[in-house]
């Protein structure tokens, strides 16, 4: 009997140090760009969307290449996305609830 689990058919070889180094370079570049954008007064009106996109790109790079989701079994991706979607839903729901309709946040607290 083969000990090889059928799920391995979904997996691919992980990248090597050269790819990891390129990702590290990209992460460093995007972080420097984030700080530059933060200090540019002209960018102030679009600060939130621009920084949110850059943060999402960094998040995706780490998850896909360093955590190997791009290469591993799709079940791991589903587990992570499940957690992220529920967390994001709770995040939006609480933000909406406490920003628009909760009396405690209509004025300053302690």
């Amino acid at each position: 009997m083969s000990a090889e689990p059928h799920g391995h058919a979904h997996e691919h070889a992980h990248p090597g140090p050269a790819t990891y180094a390129k990702v590290a370079g990209l992460l460093t570049f995007i972080t420097a760009l984030e700080v530059w954008v933060f200090y540019m007064p002209a960018m102030r009106p679009v600060l939130v969307p621009v920084l949110a996109v850059m943060s999402a790109i960094k998040f995706s790079l780490v998850v896909m290449f360093y955590m190997h989701l791009k290469f591993d079994h799709p079940a791991f991706t589903r587990v992570l996305l499940g957690g992220v979607f529920i967390a994001f839903g709770v995040f939006l729901w609480l933000l909406a609830l406490f920003t628009f309709s909760h009396p405690m946040t209509n004025g300053p607290l302690v």
């Binding site: 590290a24 460093t28 600060l47 960094k58 992570l80 300053p108 302690v110």
Partner: protein, 198 residues
């Protein structure tokens, strides 16, 4: 029991290793924990009657350096994983130690930041900004500290010969935890620090 039959017992019906799946489930549940802490911070950060407020105390240049440090520790741990998968135990020990040092440097930056905040009058009980800020970043810092202990335990296990190239999955599982700590910091850096004037 042979290594092959022993390894067989760790696979789920999906065909994935149950220890790795367990770590992914932990990560998914941790997303909920940090999601609620981050939204709590966003809701309360501008509702303090007394200072200090976020713009008074947050130091972007210092935090940018600690962010870079944590990102590079994610790079060094994938190199540690790659080394052990190739059977290069010397390289593994070098990179895992560099990762642990990177984690300790990050904790040093956080200690410096927290000490400065206390000197400027911001504590856990000063105002709602302080409460939500210290809860969020303190929880993250605790995760980093746990990660550093885990990294060092792998390093010393390897030195004693208890961790060999057969234990690559242990390093893979640990690396997942470390990368998660890193991606959560990516979000915290943007939401807490760079959105300070929003």
């Amino acid at each position: 029991m042979s290594d092959a039959s022993h390894a067989e017992h760790h696979y789920t019906s999906l065909g994935v290793d149950n220890r790795k799946l367990g770590m992914w489930l932990l990560i998914a549940s941790e997303c909920l924990l940090f999601g609620t802490l981050i939204v709590t911070f966003m809701i309360y950060r501008h509702h303090s009657t007394a200072g200090p407020n976020p713009a008074d105390v947050l130091d972007i240049p210092i935090t940018s350096i600690s962010t870079f440090d944590l990102l590079m520790s994610s790079f060094s741990i994938v190199l540690a994983l790659h080394a052990i998968q190739q059977g290069d135990m010397k390289g593994f020990r070098r990179w895992i130690l560099i990762t642990a040092i990177g984690g300790l440097i990050f904790l040093g930056f956080q200690t410096y930041e927290f000490t400065n905040f206390v000197h400027e009058g911001l504590t856990l009980s000063t105002n709602v900004f302080g409460s939500s800020f210290f809860m969020l970043t303190g929880t993250h810092g605790t995760h980093v500290a746990v990660g550093v202990i885990w990294l060092l335990s792998l390093f010393f296990s390897s030195l004693r010969g208890k961790l060999t190239e057969d234990g690559a999955l242990k390093v893979d599982t640990m690396a997942l935890y470390w990368h998660f700590v890193d991606v959560i910091w990516i979000v915290i850096f943007t939401v807490v620090y760079l959105f300070v004037y929003v």
